[in-house]
């Protein structure tokens, strides 16, 4: 079987309103990913475009982006798993290369949330749950995670202050990330005193939707060694799904889709949680990062909050997490988010993460979740 590596990564600046078209937005990430590589567009065998289609005005955007990047007549197609679409894109690219079908695949994730009016966005927000059984009650994405937060607080005595500590950490790194949307440092009081959105989650416990794009260039091992000075190897991929309905969940104190995806990825990579030098986890809400610590095995169930309280997930801690600001500071352009997480880990493993480099990082992990714990994706990368 062929080895698979990431040779190029890029992302646009994440912003509330990008002011350019979707194709131009995608070009920003693609340009950064391709620059410095010893390949051109003609070497790309296929492209995979990732976004959540309910936010797109353009129908079937993969064809449009393929045309703009002059990737025709090579095949292009669209994949979607909401907030984890571009991790799914990487998984498909990996499979296409492993199968021997292609040598180089471009993954391009994007979302232009500002293309919708706030009324249109609120309408789509209302259809995020099961539209027969749960949306008629007014469920939202924050409400789903808030129910996990409440249950976690009740079972493990996790506190709102501990959740706020996640935002404080991530905001301290977001302030140094030139591509982040939110670049202010926040204090515990800032978070605790912000408006309640859906109890116990407050405004600063939540990430903001954004415009943004990301791109990952994936290559077969022999090609990767030729075109890239430091190829980053994809050594584990895991993916799992949980129910769309909240009532279908077996656990309300952890995401089983994350646990299963992590189990698969660790097994394939032949590594353990303690081998991970740096991680990006899906912190769409502060509670989500605490759940991820436990679901990924960085902490035992119920001990996630202690990890942040002891500052073990800062860049100089036991297991640095989201030292680029996370979704909480960078913002969350749905289809682009996974690619941005992967970019951060690739830059860390190359030793190029100048804003907050984890010294000597060799193995990194990316955890990207779609919906409220619906689609779990874990990818393990090695220098």
């Amino acid at each position: 079987m062929e080895e698979v590596a990431i040779v190029g990564v890029g992302q646009s600046t994440f912003t509330r309103k990008c002011g350019v078209s979707v194709r131009e937005l995608c070009f920003q990430a693609y340009k950064e990913a391709m620059e410095g590589l010893d390949i051109t567009k003609d070497d790309i065998d296929a492209s995979i475009v990732c976004s959540a289609p309910e936010y797109d005005k353009q129908r079937t955007p993969s064809g449009l982006i393929s045309e703009y990047l002059e990737l025709t007549p090579k095949p292009t197609f669209y994949v979607e798993s909401v907030c984890s679409s571009s991790s799914t894109g990487l998984r498909v690219a990996w499979s296409l290369i492993k199968s021997g079908l292609h040598k180089v695949v471009a993954v391009i994730g994007f979302q232009k949330m500002s293309e919708l009016t706030s009324r249109e966005a609120a309408e789509r927000m209302g259809r995020g749950g099961d539209i027969i059984w749960e949306s008629p009650f007014g469920i939202t994405m924050p409400a789903g995670y808030a129910m996990y937060a409440r249950a976690h607080m009740a079972k493990y005595d996790t506190t709102e202050e501990q959740m706020a500590m996640v935002r404080v950490k991530n905001s301290s790194y977001g302030a140094r990330n030139p591509k982040a949307n939110y670049r202010k440092e926040l204090s515990i009081d800032d978070v605790m005193n912000s408006d309640v959105i859906t109890s116990p989650l407050k405004m600063f416990d939540c990430c903001a939707n954004c415009d943004g794009s990301s791109s990952i260039i994936v290559a077969r091992g022999d090609v990767a060694k030729r075109v890239s000075k430091i190829p980053i190897w994809v050594i584990g991929v895991g993916a799992a799904t949980d129910t769309m309905t909240m009532s279908g969940r077996k656990s309300v104190t952890g995401l089983e889709c994350s646990q299963e995806a992590a189990r698969q990825a660790y097994e394939m990579a032949g590594v353990k949680p303690e081998d991970i030098d740096v991680a990006e986890v899906h912190d769409c809400f502060t509670i989500s990062e605490i759940l991820a610590y436990e679901d990924l095995g960085f902490a035992k169930p119920g001990e996630g909050a202690r990890l942040i309280e002891e500052k073990q997930t800062y860049a100089d801690g036991k297991i640095p997490v989201n030292v680029d600001g996370g979704l909480l500071s960078k913002g969350h352009p749905i289809g682009a988010t996974g690619g941005s997480q992967i970019r951060t880990i690739v830059r860390q493993l190359r030793g190029e993460a100048t804003e907050a480099q984890v010294k000597g990082a060799e193995i990194g992990l990316v955890h990207n979740v779609g919906g409220v714990g619906q689609y779990g994706n874990v990818t393990i990368l090695r220098r």
């Binding site: 209302g126 099961d130 539209i131 027969i132 009650f137 007014g138 939202t140 409440r150 959105i197 109890s199």
Partner: protein, 137 residues
Amino acid sequence: MGFESFGTVSFTAEAKVADFVTYLEQGKVMATQCKNCGAKYFPPQMDCPRCLSTDAEWFEVKGSGKLITYTTVQYGPSGFENDAPYTLVIVDFADGLRIFGRLSRDIKESDIKIGMDVKVVPVKLADDRISYEFQRA
């Protein structure tokens, strides 16, 4: 009659389980059980992926359940702007049935306790709409 009158805002109408709404009007919250293999479902479904039967019967969700988690939503999506704040909960009943819905407005947020006993009751909403909610058992 289908799901067009179910909940505060409905998004679709037709379903083989539309009798759920008819039962609500008769004062009953129902789940389904596969006639072939006996699997029980909430949300109700006529189709059984375990044995591929398409024949299920209805049974009433009775007694009290335990509230396992909740959140009080301050900002609702489209159609819920004037509805917020409202409290969403998940409740465990016997037979492994786990049901999502709203908690009665009669229970203040500060009085909600995880583990509290609640029952599920059909409720009429404005504009001839119908739903169910959880009330103190």
